[in-house]
Symmetry: C2
Subunit: 197 residues, 2 copies
DNA sequence: TTAATAAATGAACGATCATTTACTTATATT
DNA sequence: AATATAAGTAAATGATCGTTCATTTATTAA
């Protein structure tokens, strides 16, 4: 028996993410990935069954990292404002500190891979956020909202828009925009103004 | 001189969008596109210089269609609430009636193609929305917001989240969600609650 | 020290890729 | 009716694709 080289497997993940983000789904290939990692293509097929498996597995792993980071220290029993603030801070921190991962997740959401990757991973989140929403309405910290989706759009949509602007920094719409805490807290304040009774 | 077959060029655009959305950037190829359109690959190279040119040109065209549709009947002189409502309605209508185009635009935003496609197309929009924002603040129809990006995130972020849920309908997060006017107007109402003095 | 075994590889497979070339076809203008 | 010219094509180019296979290498357990 020989142990799998953890450094090599991590290198593969890291370089795969980099290549996918920088060159897109077209532009990414197994042979290029192997070359960049200085390993044999065949080694990739020891780690993963096929290309789709590689992309899917890495996608699942990265999005789980993001979900976990976003919910760090969160509890459905937190007051509505505190809970929302914590999640905004967590999510923003993750996106800033894991730029490539955040971009990859965004790419995967808008690709045919999404169906496999995000199939079940969201039930857990939905449960937790749904409970938080329910508590908040019951405690009159939040105006009555029946639809989870309406709630989500209002409570998190603006943050994701800000993060997107930041990611697009060098191109397109977000030119000259820099995300920082001041911008985030100002936005959050107005979101809370709308959502609280 | 022989005239270019408009029906054929439109068929190419339509099928290219369909293939890109349904099979992703990997999964799309010039040869497959030609076969689906029952034309020769070489014909594609009469219409477009190369693959990237094809994707970029179609992307520019579709996003211009979307921007134009979103701003239909809009004027910076409309009251803040009226202007916002109109844009929400326009944008929602476009996304529902042009599902594939809306999905393609979303894919392109999160791809390396974005830099070429959306390079300049946004200055116009930013001008118009910026003016509307300014007027609204001056007329005290809107709380004072300094940053255009903060404003955009709050005013449009929730709508785009709703549309995304609707697009993801069959997969992932948006399972069982159906976009309709009631949902849109309820969300808009709360957005306005936050944004108006 | 050795036997067992999984990790890792180099080299190859046929398929498909983007793109080009030499050629034919259709039509607008004369 | 003839000519010019762009549209359109069939077939091929070499490169690269995803994947496999026979073989070697490293390491664990005995």
């Amino acid at each position: 028996m020989r142990k799998r080289d953890d450094i090599k497997t991590e290198l593969v993940k890291e370089q795969a993410i980099k290549m996918l983000v920088e060159t897109g789904f077209d532009g990414f290939s197994m042979q290029k990935l192997a070359k960049v990692c200085n390993i044999s293509v065949a080694t990739l097929y020891i780690y993963y069954q096929h290309k789709e498996d590689l992309i899917s597995k890495i996608g699942v792993e990265e999005s789980n990292r993001m979900f976990t980071a976003t919910l760090k220290n969160f509890s459905s029993d937190l007051s509505f404002a505190d809970g929302l603030k914590l999640q905004w801070e967590n999510r923003a921190k993750f996106s800033l500190q894991n730029d490539l991962s955040a971009r990859l997740i965004e790419m995967l959401w808008n690709s045919p891979y999404a169906e496999n990757i995000f199939e079940n991973s969201n039930n857990h989140i939905k449960d937790i956020l749904g409970k938080h929403l329910k508590n908040a309405v019951a405690n009159k910290q939040l105006i009555p909202i029946k639809s989870f989706f309406v709630f989500w759009s209002l409570a998190y949509g603006p943050l994701y828009a800000l993060i997107r602007f930041h990611q697009e920094n060098k191109t397109a719409f977000g030119k000259n925009f820099k995300f920082n805490n001041q911008v985030m807290y100002q936005t959050l304040e107005i979101v809370l103004k709308g959502l609280t009774p």
